[in-house]
C-alpha cells in the first residue's frame, strides 16, 4: 500500500482528536491553535442534535474537510486523484473508532430513477470497500444511494452532470 504523507500539523490534529470523546461533548478538549482560524465549526442538520465535529473534519485547510469523490460517466471506479482523500478519511476512522460514516452515492439525471439509485449505490459501495481495505471497520460504515434525487448542480448538461456523479462522505452528526 502506498504510504500516506500527512502534513505535520494535520498529524498533530488527528492525534488530538483521537483522544477526544464522540462529538458534541468536547468542551474541555484542547484545541490545536496552530490550525488557525475558528477552531470548530458548528454543523446544523435538520433533526440531528448538532454534534460538534472536531476541527480537523471541518477546517478548510484540512484534507478531511473535503468530502466528495467524483466519478466518470457510467463508472464506479475511485479515480487515482481521490485515493489520498479516501485514505485520509480511512485513517481518521481507524484512529477514531467512535465515529461513523454515511457514504451517499449520487448520479446525474439521465435515465431511470431506480436504475440510477442502483448506480449511485455502486459508487458508494466502491468508496466503502476502499475505506474497509484501509482499516475502517464495517460497523463504522454505511453506503447508501441518493441516485439522481439530490443533485448538487440542478443544471442540465455535462458540467452539471459531472458535479452530480459523486460520492459524499458524512460523519456522525452530519446525517
Amino acid at each position: 500500500m502506498k504510504r500516506l504523507v500527512i502534513p505535520a500539523t494535520l498529524a498533530l490534529l488527528i492525534a488530538a482528536c483521537s483522544s477526544t470523546p464522540e462529538g458534541g461533548d468536547q468542551s474541555g478538549a484542547p484545541v490545536e491553535s496552530r490550525a488557525g482560524g475558528p477552531s470548530v465549526a458548528t454543523v446544523t442538520t435538520g433533526g440531528v442534535d448538532g454534534g460538534r465535529l472536531p476541527a480537523v473534519l471541518t477546517d478548510p485547510k484540512s484534507i478531511l474537510s473535503k468530502r466528495s469523490v467524483y466519478f466518470d460517466y457510467d463508472s464506479y471506479e475511485v479515480k487515482a486523484e481521490y485515493k489520498d482523500l479516501v485514505t485520509a478519511h480511512a485513517k481518521f476512522l481507524t484512529e477514531n473508532r467512535q465515529f461513523r460514516m454515511l457514504i451517499q452515492g449520487n448520479t446525474d439525471e439521465r435515465g431511470s430513477r431506480e436504475y440510477n439509485l442502483a448506480l449511485g449505490q455502486k459508487r458508494a459501495d466502491a468508496i466503502k470497500k476502499m475505506m474497509a481495505l484501509l482499516g475502517a471497520r464495517e460497523d463504522q460504515l454505511e453506503a447508501v444511494s441518493l441516485g439522481e434525487e439530490k443533485p448538487k448542480n440542478e443544471g442540465h448538461g455535462e458540467a452539471a452532470w459531472a458535479e452530480n456523479r459523486r460520492g459524499d462522505m458524512l460523519y456522525s452528526g452530519e446525517f
Binding site: 431511470s112 431506480e114 436504475y115 444511494s145
Partner: protein, 430 residues
C-alpha cells in the same frame, strides 16, 4: 339551431367554466390536454339529463369530458336537448346528427337529501337500449357519478372496462425542499395530498386493493421503503436495512412486496411480507438487479439488470430461478411494467440519445417505440391495459403523459405549481 342560440349556450358554458375554476383549489391541480386521438372515434350523443339542471350539467360534462379524453369517442352536438331515461328517443333524428350511440338520464332527489342519477344508453343504428343504471349519490359526489356512468358507456361501446373512476398517484416537487405525494382522480381532479416531505419521494406502487401505497422516502437521508394506508395516513416501515432500500412492487395477491436492498452489497431483489418480515433474497450475482415488477399471475418477476454489460430487462420465476433475458435491441432498456393481461411490457428504451416509452409484445418480442421524447420515465399501465402513463418533460418541466398502446392517443397532464413525476395508476375502484 340559430346562431344566437349557439352563442347563448357557449356563454352559459363559459359562465359554468368560470364558476368551476372558482371552486377549484388553484394549487396542485392537474390539467389534462389531449394531444392526439384515435383514428375512428365512435360518435356519441350525451343529452342533457332531466331533473335539477345544475346537477345535470355537472354529471353530463364529466361524462362527455371522460369519453372525449379517452380518444375513442367523438361528442355529437345535442343542442341542449333534455332527455330522461324514460324519454323515447326519436332514433331518426339522432342518426341524422351522426350519432351511433345516445345516452339520456336524470338527476332526482332520493332519501335523506341524497340524489339519484339514472341513465340509459341506446344503440342508434339498431334502435335498441344497450342498458342503464341508477346510482344513489350526493351533491358532492356528482362528479363520481359521472365517472361511473362514463365507465359503463365506455364498457358497453368498447367491450373493455373504463378507468374513469380510478385514481392516480404522483409526486410533485413544489419547491427546493418540498415534495408532495398526491392522489387524484384519473381526470386530474380532486387532488389530495398524502405526504409532504423535505426530502424526495419516489417509486409509488399501489396495493392491489387500492387502499395502500408503497413508496421510497429519503426523509432519513437514505432510501427507506414505506407502506402508507391512504384512509388513515398510517405508515409502516417495510424495509429499512443498512444501505439502500428501494423499488417496491406489490405481488398481485397483495401479501408480499418485491424490494431492492443493498444490505448484502450491490442492489439485489428480495421478497418481503407486506409487514416487512421474512426478507428472502432472489438474485445472487454481483451485477445491479432492480426495478422488479410482477407478472399478473404472480409467477414471474421482470427486472432490470446490467449483468450482460448494459442495463437490460430480464425475467425470473418468483423463486429466483429460470432467468431469461427479455430485451435485446439497444444498450439501455429499463423500467419494465407488465400489462394487466400479461401480454405486453411497457419499458423505457434509449433510442438516438432519447429515453422513450416503448412497448413489447411478449409473445412475438416485437418492440414499438411510442414517443419521440427525450426524458420518458416510470411507465404505469391503466388497469384496463389500454393506456400507459409516464413522466416526461415539456419545456423544462416535469409533466405526465398518457399514451395509448398503439401510440395514437396522447394526453398531457401538467400542474401549475411545480414538477410532476413518478406516476402510478391505481387499480379498478370496486
Amino acid at each position: 339551431m340559430s346562431r344566437f342560440a349557439i352563442k347563448l349556450r357557449f356563454l352559459r358554458l363559459l359562465a359554468f367554466a368560470a364558476f368551476a375554476v372558482l371552486l377549484t383549489p388553484a394549487r396542485g391541480q392537474l390539467t389534462v390536454e389531449i394531444t392526439g386521438a384515435g383514428a375512428n372515434r365512435i360518435p356519441v350523443a350525451i343529452a342533457e339529463f332531466g331533473g335539477d339542471a345544475a346537477s345535470s350539467r355537472i354529471v353530463t360534462s364529466v361524462i362527455r369530458a371522460d369519453l372525449e379524453r379517452s380518444g375513442l369517442f367523438r361528442m355529437v352536438d345535442t343542442s341542449g336537448v333534455v332527455m330522461t331515461e324514460a324519454t323515447s328517443p326519436v332514433f331518426g333524428d339522432w342518426k341524422s346528427r351522426g350519432a351511433d350511440a345516445l345516452a339520456a338520464g336524470s338527476i332526482g332527489a332520493s332519501d335523506n337529501g341524497r340524489q339519484e342519477a339514472r341513465f340509459r344508453l341506446y344503440d342508434v343504428n339498431k334502435q335498441t337500449a344497450l342498458g342503464g343504471s341508477a346510482f344513489v349519490t350526493s351533491k358532492t359526489m356528482l362528479r363520481a357519478a359521472g365517472h361511473r356512468i362514463a365507465d359503463i358507456i365506455y364498457e358497453k361501446l368498447t367491450g373493455e372496462p373504463g378507468v374513469f373512476s380510478t385514481r392516480v398517484a404522483y409526486v410533485v416537487r413544489a419547491g427546493a425542499a418540498r415534495y408532495e405525494l398526491h392522489i387524484a382522480d384519473a381526470d386530474g381532479q380532486n387532488a389530495q395530498v398524502a405526504l409532504i416531505s423535505r426530502e424526495p419521494i419516489i417509486s409509488p406502487s399501489w396495493s392491489p386493493d387500492g387502499g395502500r401505497l408503497a413508496y421510497v422516502s429519503f426523509e432519513n437521508k437514505k432510501p427507506v421503503v414505506y407502506v402508507h394506508s391512504l384512509a388513515s395516513g398510517k405508515r409502516v416501515v417495510v424495509a429499512n436495512f443498512k444501505g439502500s432500500n428501494s423499488a417496491p412492487a406489490w405481488s398481485p395477491d397483495g401479501r408480499r412486496l418485491a424490494v431492492v436492498l443493498s444490505k448484502d452489497g450491490g442492489s439485489q431483489i428480495f421478497l418481503v411480507n407486506a409487514d416487512g418480515s421474512g426478507a428472502q433474497r432472489l438474485t445472487t450475482d454481483t451485477a445491479i438487479n432492480t426495478e422488479p415488477n410482477f407478472s399478473p399471475d404472480g409467477q414471474h418477476l421482470y427486472f432490470t439488470s446490467d449483468r450482460g454489460g448494459s442495463p437490460q430487462i430480464y425475467r425470473m420465476n418468483i423463486g429466483g430461478g429460470d432467468v431469461q433475458r427479455v430485451s435485446f435491441e439497444g444498450t439501455y432498456n429499463v423500467s419494465p411494467r407488465i400489462s394487466p393481461d400479461g401480454r405486453s411490457m411497457a419499458f423505457i428504451s434509449r433510442r438516438d440519445g432519447g429515453f422513450r416509452l416503448s412497448v413489447m409484445d411478449l409473445a412475438s418480442r416485437q418492440v414499438q417505440v411510442l414517443t419521440d421524447s427525450n426524458k420518458d420515465e416510470s411507465p404505469t399501465f391503466s388497469p384496463n391495459g389500454r393506456m400507459v402513463l409516464i413522466a416526461t418533460e415539456m419545456g423544462g418541466r416535469g409533466v405526465l403523459s398518457a399514451v395509448s398502446l398503439d401510440g395514437r392517443i396522447k394526453q398531457r397532464l401538467s400542474i401549475s405549481a411545480g414538477d410532476v413525476r413518478e406516476p402510478a395508476w391505481g387499480p379498478f375502484n370496486r
